[in-house]
Chain length 336, copies 2
């Protein structure tokens, strides 16, 4: 009997009505298949948050000034942000990566310095980064994950911080899903109606400038932030290491789109942790035919969706490993 | 300034865009209001599972034979059921109550014997229980919760086990929400199409027999199981003790409907943990204007929705208590 059949049988023989654990059953099945075992485990779960600045932030697309990227990284390093709280709660290791913040940080615990530059260029005028910077970021992201895998981690989630990066994500989405910008642009961290219209205009202008893009890596180089490219390299390496990949919200999913174009089977390792309230995220998930675990109207980034969803994934693994079967518990099965 | 305003301010000053934690923010606000504090805590969280047998099970409304109630209680007591797994994972205390199972149990740890009888009567022929049994169950449920509250618990979830009890819940729903049976009947633990039609017919017959019911307690006495009435008494006592009340799926919500008719303000303490895939649950939640936390297509009962959702509630409390404010973290606020 194939492992898939054995997994299905193990799930169905648990003391519950057939299918009664819903998405937890699908999740248990997926995790078992990825790990090629009837008794999967989640080892050293880890969140990596990549941070970087965006040239496009100068075009007034965000509700926050650009220095918030730097300030929030300091907040991560001091343990005061939402992602810190949720990682502590759920016993997730947390690493912060300076992928390209405008300011420099003192070396310190939990900070990985992988700076590709002091923010990207403004894609209203030119490509966000050079080919060399792109390659550096892909390699750095991979290197970071490889080290984490060597420490025994088999489940990894990725977060980001970068003022302006919902704009970058909207561009990736528009090109890769072949959707008009209006469907891909949301209010990000909460811009006003006026600024929202301005954001669409700005991005439309950028789209007019960068035509005839079709290669995923070219699209990435043109619009993404350093933190997004490092996340892309990280996702690809996580797949090579056969880790479970926790996908967060709008920005992380736009990066996942690129990773999937480069590595079409990566999705078998991906768990879509939540559906963001950022307009467009649902469309991206639909495009991927992905079913998100949580619908909590969150739109914070930082990997918070992954961290909050983690206990649900643990529940899926635990029921598979710990629940009694009808036979072992002496419970009568469903009547025909 | 009122506590509600202070809570709103505290939430809004956390280092995140306004509203970016979505339902977690609403939850933190609710918990703070219930506990009348800016720094709420979840103390000794507990799940109580009430079990009882139903006379209506003899009418062939379930996919499982009636003795599964007894067998599953044994499974709970041995730690092999889904609710055991999720309570262990999330450090929730678990109590099992024999509210009226057909068979007797040996006294043992974690089993509370509160037997009102050896199963209810078949409501196809007469009321499920006497007024005396109803009162006994309401009092027992309250007594159990009071003791748990005395041990310092301030958040409690309720589960149930009783073959046939989705039928009882459908009856409560139909009378209390004033909805036709077809909208209130689902496939329970997974009956076949044929048995599903039979279930509707059976319940229609019962509805024809029991006309002119309008008092919630009368409806409860007519259709509910002992485990459901004890849960009702338990919810009412949890409210008197100002505990947070975790509401599970279809059956628990039907019981909550009764509790709310008796105590209209009880909902301020209630957290609706998930939306069951049992048809009808969504309609009941709509009737209550309740927003469930999880949508995982679960339909298992036992309080499993409460146990799986618990970490999300903890996340809400934790961000409120632990996240830095814009001021304390030195992060620039949103631009006007």
């Amino acid at each position: 009997m194939e492992l898939a059949d054995k997994l299905r049988q193990k799930i169905d023989n648990k003391t519950k009505p057939l299918g009664a654990l819903g998405k937890l059953e699908k999740l248990a099945f997926q995790v078992g298949r990825v790990q090629n075992t009837l008794s999967p485990t989640l080892q050293n779960p880890t969140i990596v948050v990549f941070a970087g600045d965006h040239g496009i932030a100068q075009a007034g697309v965000s509700a926050y000034p650009q220095e918030v990227t730097y300030q929030m990284v300091l907040n991560f390093l001091r343990g005061g942000a939402a992602i810190n709280v949720f990682c502590r709660q759920n016993h997730l290791a947390l690493h912060i990566v300076d992928a390209g913040v405008k300011q420099d940080f003192q070396p310190q615990n939990n900070l990985i310095i992988a700076k590709a530059g002091y923010g990207t260029r403004n894609f209203l005028h030119k490509k966000a980064m050079s080919k060399q910077e792109l390659d550096f970021c892909l390699a750095k992201g991979a290197e970071i994950v490889k080290k984490i895998a060597e420490n025994g981690c088999n489940v990894i989630g990725f977060g980001e911080m970068g003022i302006g990066n919902t704009s970058a994500a909207s561009m990736l989405m528009s090109y890769l899903c072949n959707l008009p910008l209006e469907k891909c642009v949301g209010k990000g961290t909460g811009v006003s109606e006026e600024r929202f219209l301005q954001k669409i205009q700005v991005l439309q202008k950028a789209q007019n400038l960068h035509q005839n893009l079709s290669e995923p890596l070219d699209i990435l180089q043109t619009f993404a932030g350093f933190e997004m490219v490092q996340m892309c390299g990280a996702m690809l390496e996580a797949y090579r290491q056969n880790m479970l990949i926790l996908v967060d919200g709008f920005i992380a999913t736009s990066v996942f789109l690129v990773a999937k174009f480069l590595e079409p089977t990566i999705q078998q390792n991906a768990i879509f942790c939540h559906q963001s309230s950022e307009a467009g995220h649902k469309l991206m998930l639909d495009f991927l035919q992905a079913e998100p675990l949580l619908h909590l109207d969150m739109r914070l980034g930082e990997g918070t969706g992954c961290a909050v969803a983690f206990p649900i994934i643990q529940s899926a693994v635990n029921f598979l490993n710990e629940m009694a079967s009808f036979e072992s518990a002496g419970v009568s099965k469903q009547e025909a």
